[in-house]
């Protein structure tokens, strides 16, 4: 990945962290406290399936992305990093 893409990925991660904190009502968590490779569900951020609903909508509203493939969805939603990479790769198409 070139330097430009790395910068863009970092920017997307930052935006996603802010969106997650705002949209999921994550109490007592600041966006900068979320690690770049933070696992989203179960361990890590401890999100649940209802939070996944919010993330699906959040991706659609903010990046125009729809997760249609369920098997893909699990991989995409694994961590903040996988989510950011999905946004980066698909936003450009």
């Amino acid at each position: 990945m070139d330097e430009h893409n790395e910068q863009e990925l970092a920017e997307i991660r930052k935006v996603l962290k802010e969106l997650l904190v705002t949209n999921l009502n994550l109490e007592d968590i600041e966006p900068e406290q979320i690690k770049d490779d933070e696992i989203l569900f179960g361990q890590g951020l401890g999100l649940d399936s209802l939070d996944a609903v919010e993330i699906v909508v959040l991706l659609q509203r903010n990046f125009g992305l729809e997760v249609k493939d369920m098997k893909e969805g699990k991989k995409i939603f694994y961590s903040l990093d996988t989510l950011a990479r999905y946004v980066l790769e698909n936003r450009k198409q």
Binding site: N25, S49, L50, A52, V53, E54, V57, M70, G73
Partner: protein, 300 residues
């Protein structure tokens, strides 16, 4: 699942021999014959199935407060018989032995809602009446109906009552599928389908406490989170058995959950869950022996 848990025992109630006997009575003596045999079976459950009685009694004590022991047990017995009759009806309908007269109230409004929007809608129901028979009337909507329900793990029940079978317009989404389930629900709504969710038992999901039959009860609010996120309406499905072969399906209650700015997301959904609880309260007021919660929703 713990074998002593009420949920495990509930899901393993009924066996192939039992269904065969009921099928025999139904074919030889008709509905009334099968209903008659039911009285003995329900007496057995009343006397020996403590978890079932305890589950039913939680509702009976709230619906008919201060009834005394004998009267409460009589009401539990009536509730068992009422549910048994509806299970027999379902079996008879699936086997094609009896034609039921099903009248739908609000069906035109429901069709209109679907016609006027790209996304689908959520059909919120509960363990009341014969909701499985009610769903068959939705065939007229010409939309796929996705049932969010746990797969039936009692083979005899699944075989006899077709709970887990998918028909040409019904698909099953398992809530145990976790994220997969969420994606399936979201995709179904996006493509304009109907998603049917049970809104009265919280299982392992988050719940909101709202007033129900005079005390605070815990109802899951997942359906409302999904509706608010997608921006789709929630239509409440209320099925009721009116007489021997007559059913009424009421789908005229429509809720449109959305988040309000000031309150947190969970809090801003509370009024909608309360509204659903009020609709259920009104239903059990009219049909006290068609509420098959069999679960203490008043205990967190």
């Amino acid at each position: 699942m713990d074998k002593k848990s009420p949920e495990f025992q509930e899901r393993h109630r009924g066996n192939a021999l039992g269904f065969w006997i009921f099928g025999f009575f139904l074919r030889i003596f008709g509905l009334r014959g099968a209903y008659g045999f039911l009285h003995f079976v329900c007496l057995y459950y009343l006397l020996f199935d403590r978890p079932a009685v305890a589950g039913a009694d939680a509702y009976i004590q709230r619906r008919f407060p201060g009834g005394g022991f004998i009267r409460s047990r009589w009401r539990v017995y009536r509730l068992f018989i009422s549910q048994g009759k509806q299970l027999i009806d379902r079996y008879a309908a699936i086997a094609g032995l009896v034609q039921f007269n099903i009248k739908a109230e609000g069906e035109e409004q429901l069709a209109e809602l679907l016609r006027n929007r790209k996304e689908g809608l959520i059909l919120l129901t509960a363990h009341i009446g014969n909701w499985q028979v009610a769903l068959t009337t939705l065939r007229n909507l010409n939309r796929t109906v996705h049932l969010v329900m746990r797969p039936e793990d009692n083979e005899a029940v699944a075989r006899a009552l077709s709970l887990s079978r998918e028909s040409d317009f019904i698909r099953i989404i398992s809530p145990e599928a976790d994220l997969d389930g969420v994606f399936q629900i979201m995709n179904a709504l996006k493509q304009g389908d109907v998603v049917s969710i049970m809104g009265d038992r919280k299982y392992d999901f988050d719940a909101i406490d709202v007033s129900f039959l005079g005390a605070m009860a815990y109802f899951p609010y997942g359906a409302f989170v999904i509706a608010a996120a997608v921006g789709c309406p929630v239509v409440v499905l209320l099925p009721a058995k009116l007489s021997h072969k007559k059913y009424l399906i009421d789908v005229h209650n429509v809720l449109q959950p959305c988040y309000s700015g000031a309150a947190g997301k969970k809090e801003s959904l509370r009024p909608y869950v309360q509204e659903f609880s009020n609709i259920l309260s009104n239903y059990v007021e009219h049909y006290p022996y068609q509420c098959f919660l069999f679960h203490d929703v008043w205990r967190n």
